[in-house]
């Protein structure tokens, strides 16, 4: 890939200053003149480049980059989003948030929801992948069925599960009764609401994680397993000492995309619990929505969004660092 990149990008060599040339020396001037000539000679091509790029660039600049800047500004203001202009308040919003009991609960909910889903996705996803990697009849079909919920709208999946969770007529009652249990009141009981969310999220997402792990499993080098076999390593030892460490970049990837995924689970929260009962299932992302579009507190919503962004940047940074280190080892 690297060599390909190099060979196709000859059009834009990054201009590195020559070690021997000082500004104004004949060589620098020569290069500048060359670039000027390049602009003139390639005017048509450069214009076409900009033309092809502009729609996408404009949308991304307006709806991806500008929001980051303006959101950072909004997080230091007070504004009701409906009328007037934002009033500068400095770090007040952050101060209020970090000292508010509600926000602490929101952060605990986020940690519980995201943390459990991440661990569940890794453990169950890997287990499913190992199962799908065995030579069994019908495994392709099961794999397909397990992946299918991932591409169905979260609102639809959540609505289906809302019915399954119905304490009187739902499937969960039927199944639990078979084992002699009664059905909890799932989404309306603050002790069970977050668990309901986690179950639904895992049901929708774990098939996808399994496919990612399966691709990882199938790319592992055969020789290591041969060697382990010769050394007499059992199946569990092989899995723990060879498969797991080699899959760790995949695991990190799965963790990051699952974290991002749980931050986008608006549809499930909206359908299943609406953040309730009380604040029992209000996660950080739902809190942003509530503050922004129900309480119309743009400043507090923007500050919460910044906190989420910083968390995400740290997580992604850790992943990048970790994966890079692993690549160097190999």
């Amino acid at each position: 890939m690297a060599s390909r990149t190099a060979s196709t990008t000859t059009g834009a060599p990054a201009p590195r200053p020559d070690p021997g040339s000082t500004p104004g020396s004949p060589r620098t001037i020569d290069r500048r003149a060359q670039r000027r000539r390049g602009w003139r000679r390639n005017r048509g091509e450069y214009a076409l480049f900009l033309l092809l790029l502009s729609p996408n660039l404009l949308i991304i600049a307006t709806f991806e980059y500008w929001p980051v800047i303006y959101n950072a500004y909004l997080s230091m203001t007070r504004w009701n989003m409906l009328s007037g202009v934002p009033q500068w308040v400095g770090l007040d919003n952050y101060h209020t948030l970090l000292n508010s009991e509600t926000f602490h609960q929101v952060m605990r909910n986020t940690l519980a929801f995201t943390g459990t889903v991440v661990i569940g996705s890794v453990v169950l996803g890997l287990a499913l992948a190992v199962l799908f990697n065995q030579r069994l009849h019908g495994r392709g079909l099961v794999r397909t069925v397990a992946f299918a919920p991932h591409i169905v709208s979260g609102a639809a999946v959540a609505t289906l599960w809302l019915f399954i969770f119905d304490p009187n007529y739902g499937l969960s009652r039927v199944v639990l009764n078979q084992f002699g249990f009664g059905s909890p009141r799932w989404v309306t009981d603050s002790d069970w609401a977050l668990a309901s969310l986690i179950i639904v999220y895992l049901w929708k997402g774990v098939g996808f994680v399994a496919i990612v792990y399966l691709a990882g499993l199938q790319s592992l080098p055969e020789e290591l397993y041969e060697a382990a076999k010769i050394d007499g390593a059992g199946a569990w030892t092989t899995f723990r000492r060879i498969t797991l460490p080699l899959l760790s970049p995949v695991t990190f990837f799965v963790m990051v995309i699952t974290i991002i995924g749980t931050f986008q689970a608006y549809d499930m929260i909206a359908v299943l619990t609406g953040g309730g009962p009380g604040n029992a299932t209000t996660t950080l992302s739902w809190y942003i929505y509530e503050q922004g579009f129900q309480a119309f507190d743009a400043g507090r919503a923007a500050a919460s969004a910044m906190i989420l962004f910083i968390i995400l940047l740290i997580v992604t940074g850790l992943q990048t660092k970790f994966v890079q280190r692993r690549v160097h080892y190999q």
Binding site: L131, Q134, A155, T159, G232
Partner: protein, 312 residues
Amino acid sequence: MSEHTTSREPTTGQPPRRRSPDRPALTKRVSSRRRRLNEDPLVRRVLLYAALVFVALLFVGPLYWLFTSALKEPGDIYQYPPEWVPSSPHVENFTEAWRAAPFANFFVNSLIVTAGGAAIKLINATLTAYAFVFLRFPFKNVIFLVMLGALMVPNNVTLIVNYITVSNLGWINTYLGLIIPSAGSIFGMFLLRQYMMTLPKDIIEAARVDGAGHLRTMWQVVLPMCKPMLVTVGIIAVVDMWNDFIWPLIVTNTVEMRTLPIGLLYLRTTEGYANWGAIMAGTVMVALPMLILFLFAQRHIVRGLTGGAVKG
């Protein structure tokens, strides 16, 4: 994702290909114990199939529940124990859902937003990728990286400001407002660029030498060769647009402008917890198009989503 997989299971009865001469005893002992414990082929296979059936039930069960509930006669849904196989399919739930909420509107809105959004996304991805691969421009790789960096921006951060921007543009409750903010392509552009870089250079050169302009080269030479990746990027865009929830929720404010996922929420509010049959029928209407698409384009969807799976 091919059917072919390399089996990691140690095969029974086969002697290790190479026996290290200094410890034959150890190898022999361990392998014989292994054979006893988990290598009894029958027990192992029975356990594995039991696990596979359990997993299948776990995923088929809820989906079966969804479709049968939607097709039951309205009263039958409240039977306990439930009627596992509906006596005969009924469509009353669908007509009830259609009556209780303007599903025709939701469908049309979802279709317009999905088709329009996915088309613009695909065009953006194609044009940008072509420019980055086949055109010269100073510092174009820096520009590429800057655009790619937008993948790091979660939509939680863009929500509030995009709402303000769209409302300043006067696009609240319009198709433009629904489509344009998500019509940029970052990941699709990345996938297509990587794909275009693998195309044979000489064919494209030949077209250029023959006097074809860039637009013609793109349309007649490059795009036909990119077909598999174009399909992948297009389908992922369709899935993303169809399922999008939070943006349509905040950018529309009348029932008539809602898309299907929001319409489903609306249906549940109008039906309350009273009429699960109709609500399940509505759920089927939201879920089925994507399930059918998945049936026909599984390969593309899996490739597009597992490729990097961060964002459309």
